[in-house]
């Protein structure tokens, strides 16, 4: 199985033109080498290893009711799997979701995002799109302000996510950061917003068809969002987030102010997007 996955990645990297026409299902398509059926709540060797590194000796509650992850069993493209995190806990100073970990067990780099939250998000719901390289669990671990850990997971079936060729239509716009909020904005209530960074988020696994060289990894490393100079959340990201990384989130505007996103990538590129909220 592992050998076939390497073949898959190698083929995907080496033949992006072919992949444009033929999705490469090598690892999933070979009789006898198929991934064992998995339930959404199952563990995996990769998760057990991650768990030891990220949360050593800590209990993780998987009882439904605190945090939920929503993802399709099969996404249209493995390179862009829509993932939604829903928190069932209101963000109050007494108890709130302090950190969210988004993990893709079998990705080459499984920690897709770590979101460091404040009560200014109002409601700790997030949406983004992830690359999922092969059949894998996608997990969210919520760390509460009292130290408790809660987890939910979904099993997602894809192929070729990290090998899919990136969109390079607008390289001159790399780093452009766009914020959106609905009109009108309701004050003192959790308000949905979206930040998008135009960026190829290169994984390092794609081949440049002209130079026949691998495109070096180049991805958005962090997005820090504030409102009226007050931190809303900081996101540490990875190339497991799809190209043009975007986050849908909530924030609570307590009056007119500026919504601001500070972006940094893995080549020390820095950009800022702002939006006046009235």
């Amino acid at each position: 199985m592992r050998g076939m996955i390497h073949v898959n990645r190698w083929l995907g990297r080496g033949t992006a033109c072919l992949v444009l026409f033929v999705w490469a299902p090598w690892a999933q398509a070979v009789p006898g080498g198929l991934p064992a059926p998995a339930a959404h709540a199952d563990s995996s060797p990769e998760w057990e290893s991650l768990r030891e590194k990220l949360f050593p000796s800590r209990a993780i509650d998987t009882t439904p009711g605190t945090v939920q992850i929503i993802a399709p069993l099969r996404a249209a493209y493995g390179a862009s799997v829509p993932v939604k995190v829903v928190s069932k806990l209101p963000q109050t100073p007494g108890l709130y979701v302090k950190r969210l970990y988004l993990l893709v067990d079998k990705n080459p780099s499984p920690i897709a995002a770590v979101l460091d939250l404040t009560t200014e998000v109002g409601q700790a719901d997030f949406e983004t799109r992830l690359r999922v390289d092969e059949y894998s669990h996608v997990r969210v671990v919520a760390e509460l302000s009292n130290g408790q850990l809660h987890m939910d997971s979904r099993y997602v079936k894809t192929s070729g996510g990290c090998s899919a060729p990136p969109n390079r239509d607008a390289l001159h716009l790399v780093g452009k950061t766009v914020l959106k909020v609905p009109e009108p904005v309701a004050m003192n209530l959790p308000t949905p917003a979206e930040v998008t960074v135009l960026h190829p988020n290169d994984t390092g696994f794609e081949l440049n068809q002209v130079t026949v060289m691998y495109i070096p990894a180049h991805f958005v490393r962090s997005i820090k969002v504030s409102y009226a100079d007050k931190k809303v959340f900081d996101a540490e990201l990875d190339f497991s987030v799809s190209e043009n990384p975007s986050l849908r989130f909530n924030f609570v505007p307590h009056g007119q102010g500026q919504l601001k996103a500070e972006v940094e990538d893995s080549k020390d590129g820095r950009w800022v997007g702002t939006l006046a909220v009235r």
């Binding site: 999705w23 299902p25 099969r74 996404a75 249209a76 192929s159």
Partner: protein, 177 residues
């Protein structure tokens, strides 16, 4: 050199496919409604109108398969269908009319048109018109599950690699998401 490697890969791949599956298309036990393209060479247009009319008459859904005669991954899926026909055909036949669109890898997204009634749309526009997320990239093979009004019954993945086991194929037919 690079092209040679690709050719070798495809040759090895094809060598793994049983000879019985080398002929292109959905295997006969599935009683596919084969649709050949028209309008060539300028365009490759596939008309779904008759298939949809039949689906309305028979109160069934459409399982629309887009394959290419020169696509190793299509052969692989077709071989899977053939090898498991005894188990799968009854499930297909109970609810679906299988529609087999015969294309070629050389037919790109802007050349491939889908016609329903008076309206023919290029691939990406067709996908957008039915709310399918696979508008960005044409992938062979592709499968659509449509109701008799051409509405997708669920979002399908690109390719068929995630439903090439019997349990997974049945998951798809049951519309499990």
């Amino acid at each position: 050199m690079h092209q040679l490697i690709v050719a070798v890969c495809i040759a090895v791949w094809l060598s793994l496919v049983p000879a019985s599956a080398v002929s292109a298309g959905v295997p006969a036990p599935y009683s596919p409604l084969v649709i050949q393209p028209t309008g060539m060479p300028a365009r490759h247009e596939f008309d779904l109108s008759a298939a949809l009319a039949r689906a309305r008459r028979e109160n069934k859904r459409l399982y629309v398969y887009l394959g290419a005669h020169n696509c190793p991954f299509c052969r692989r899926y077709e071989a899977f269908l053939e090898q498991n026909a005894a188990e799968l055909v009854p499930h297909f036949a109970a609810q679906y009319i299988v529609v087999d669109l015969r294309s070629s890898l050389s037919v790109t997204a802007d050349q491939l048109f889908i016609r329903i009634g008076e309206r023919a749309l290029p691939y990406a526009d067709f996908q957008r018109s039915i709310g399918d997320e696979r508008a960005r990239m044409l992938v062979y093979p592709s499968v659509w599950l449509l109701d008799p009004d051409a509405k997708p019954l669920m979002q399908m993945p690109a390719g068929t690699g995630t439903f090439q086991t019997v349990p997974e194929q049945l998951e798809i037919l049951r519309l499990e998401q």
